[in-house]
């Protein structure tokens, strides 16, 4: 049973990132492979603040802000100019890989190749239904649940959420219906960037020790969760994160833990081969 606990924590972190990634892709049409690199940089921003003696839970806000800021800047200075010029989707994917390299290894050039940890207490452990969790891990799960509820409320009940869904479904039509699509897209970059920054810091808290390349593999998990649920589907990404999180950690209890990511990989390739629109995706 302890592996279910690990699975839930991984799923909680993964859900924040996957929902951010998939919403970003749905609304902005950028398959942003630099997402995980932004996560790391945001986590390092929190680390630098944490190093000055500030509590990590306050630094969390800085990490969120950094994620949003970097994402907005990336769109404003790079992705958006390419899109306005009418570049092919694949060109943007290549550009996003270029951005991933710049951010990841830019961070690496600044901090060096060493692993760092936040200055924080893990809190007392709690036993619950055969799972052993620390207070910090419970907080991570709570944050994730609140974020998922928030995303649901945003998409379901707010004007902005509706505008986001409309822009995702058909940008031209949304524009013609009086939605200021470019503004919706800019706000989406800020929002999903904030989710990215949050995912970065909770990832770093969860793994406890991280370096600039730590999120390389995590990107694979994000992609697996996103494609499992169907690219662009927020609720699909939540479901995908839960399945991938549990599948990787629970399988680690039975096979060698080094191979746990293979499960995510097989799921991803199977989805691409059989049902590229994902479990919840029906539209072509």
């Amino acid at each position: 049973m302890p592996s279910v606990g690990f699975g839930l924590i991984t799923a909680a972190v993964l859900a924040i990132a996957a929902v951010g990634f998939t919403l970003q892709f749905a609304v902005t049409n950028v398959l942003n492979l630099a997402f995980a690199s932004i996560m790391t940089l945001a986590a390092f921003v929190a680390y630098w603040i944490n190093q000055t003696g500030v509590s990590i839970w306050i630094a969390l806000i800085a990490s969120i802000a950094a994620g949003a800021l970097i994402s907005v800047a990336l769109n404003y200075f790079v992705y958006s100019p390419f899109q306005r010029r009418g570049s092919a989707p694949i060109t943007l994917v290549i550009v996003s890989l270029g951005m991933a390299l710049i951010l990841e290894f830019g961070t690496s050039a600044i901090v060096g190749g060493i692993s760092v940890s936040y200055n924080m207490s893990q809190g007392s452990t709690v036993k619950f239904a055969g799972m052993i969790l620390t207070t910090v891990q419970l907080i991570i799960i709570a944050i994730s649940v609140v974020v998922m509820a928030g995303v649901y409320a945003l998409l379901r009940y707010t004007k902005l959420g509706k505008a986001m869904r409309a822009t995702a479904a058909n940008r031209m039509l949304a524009r013609n219906s009086g939605i200021r699509a470019s503004r919706v897209i800019a706000i989406t970059w800020a929002l999903t960037g904030a989710l990215c920054g949050l995912a970065g810091i909770v990832f770093a808290i969860d793994v406890q020790s991280f370096d600039p390349t730590s999120t390389d593999i995590f990107l694979i998990l994000i992609l697996a969760a996103v494609f499992l649920g169907g690219p662009g589907h927020a609720y699909g990404a939540m479901l995908g994160a839960l399945v991938i999180g549990l599948a990787t950690e629970v399988s680690a209890a039975y096979i060698q833990s080094d191979y746990k990511y293979v499960v995510a990989f097989v799921i991803l390739l199977a989805m691409l081969a059989v049902r590229p629109t994902g479990l919840l995706g029906t539209r072509t």
């Binding site: 989707p89 694949i90 390299l101 690496s108 494609f227 590229p276």
Partner: protein, 587 residues
Amino acid sequence: MLYLIILLVYTAVDAMACLGLSQQFGVAGVTNFGFIIFQAAGAYVAAVLALPSDTANGGFQTYIGGFSLPFPLPWIGAAVAGGLLALPFTFLVGRRLRGDYAAVGLLVTAVLLNLLVVNYRPLFNGAAGTSLVPAPLQSGMFVGTSNGYQFGFAIGGLILVVAVFWFVRRITESPYGRTLRAMRDNDKVADSLGKNLVALRTGVLVTGGAIAGLSGAILVSFIGVWDPAAWSYAETIVLFTAIIVGGAGNHLGALLGAVLVPVGFEEVTRFISNNNPSLPPNLLPSLQWVAIGLLITIFLWLRPQGVLPERRRVIVPPARDATGARPTRQRPAPEGTEVLKAADVSKDFGGVRAVANVSLSVSKGTLTGLIGPNGAGKSTLLSVLAGTEKVSGGRISYMGQDVTALPAYRRARVGLVRTFQLASEFKRLTVVENLLSAVPGNRGDSFTGALIGRRYWRGDEAAAAARAYQLIESFGLRDKANEYAGNLSGGQRRLVEIMRALMTEPDVLLLDEPMAGVHPELARQIGEALQELCRQGMTILMVEHELAIVDELCDPVIVMADGQVLAQGTMAELRDRSEVVEAYLVG
């Protein structure tokens, strides 16, 4: 070891890899983000074929195989392994999957295969990698060989690069290569013209994989060790950067890119670190990756065509008239028979029923019009008739055969061809090339035909070119014949599309608003040409918005509304029917 030798061998390895990727990405438009795993597979296979078994090799490393095979078997095995490794991935680049999703799938594969090889030690000795790989025709590693041998090795590597260059060029400059470029520019349209996308992409994945595998063999024979750090997923991005900087679609550009990016970067870094020994060890490699990221982005923005852009291929009209050299397709059906028939055909998109239980038949030699208000399902109906979209229900038969299950390219090959509503010219093919790309049965339009060479296919090519020039002249586009189709006006692009469809010598032609955006005088000319084709036995089903055109050209006319067929008859008859007038003619 001589510095020059190192430089020459690295140049050979990177140039060869770049040629393979240039063929995949630059020519065929297959974005293989996992390219490096093919090089890695070649290197590992060459290593374990050349090494003695691991127990006999000191026992400090484990690997499968260890066959002590003599040169050149390890290198041949490497190329075969690279080609075979491509086969499991062909499902990723098939007909249905978007190119960017396939690229993500390949990227993920590259990351995870690396992880697997690191963790599963029995395969290739895990993170430490296989080492002590002997050099070709030697008992020890490359470092211990004589200067003369090393020089010969470098020259041999470069000769292999020349051979690979000859190979990819021969493919690219053939009708088969033109088909690859057409697929790169618009795969859906290539599919509709009878091109088998899965077979084409499998071809480039396998040949590119084999080339990458061979480059890996040369590399591992040279450095003697091969470990997972040498083939991280990011190495693929370096090769992509080389292709984009050098010029995608131009193999000389790929060679230039190989010298500028992978080789150049290595040398510059080495130079800086040699002169500044006090730098932190992590800084330069990190900055190198940052520079790669910057380089790829800046080039895609400022000079997406690269330093050496793909060159425009000018095709001159053949001197003597070569038409009639090959027999035109038999048109077996007699006048008046039903050549195309839909029975109870439906198409759903999610919950929306775009086409609902449509039954219709089209008779040979007619120019049938298909009209209806926006959103009536006309284009969708055309798509399912041509096979671009699968039906949700019902049957489609063509010439008496059930074709419901046939994919678009197979329907096109038996003479059922469509055009598209949106501009769908192959942008980076010239007008003549657009037309030639559609010609079925060109002997050079296959992998083997392309390899056999120009002498084998130039007869077919000349005949096709003669026919293309005839069409181009009759539609008055002679002075644009060798322009890129993407640079033409909207009306001219529509003409190219119609001419291209005609080059397939279709029996049934499905046209989606062929006159939209075309100058009225030209539209009249197209109309006359279409009528003439029908008189000669062709059958045309045409979606059209302009009622005046339909009135003049089409008989019979089918009216659609809300996904259903509302009425069928001559325009005069339809005008008398109130429901038709209500649904469309007035509203």
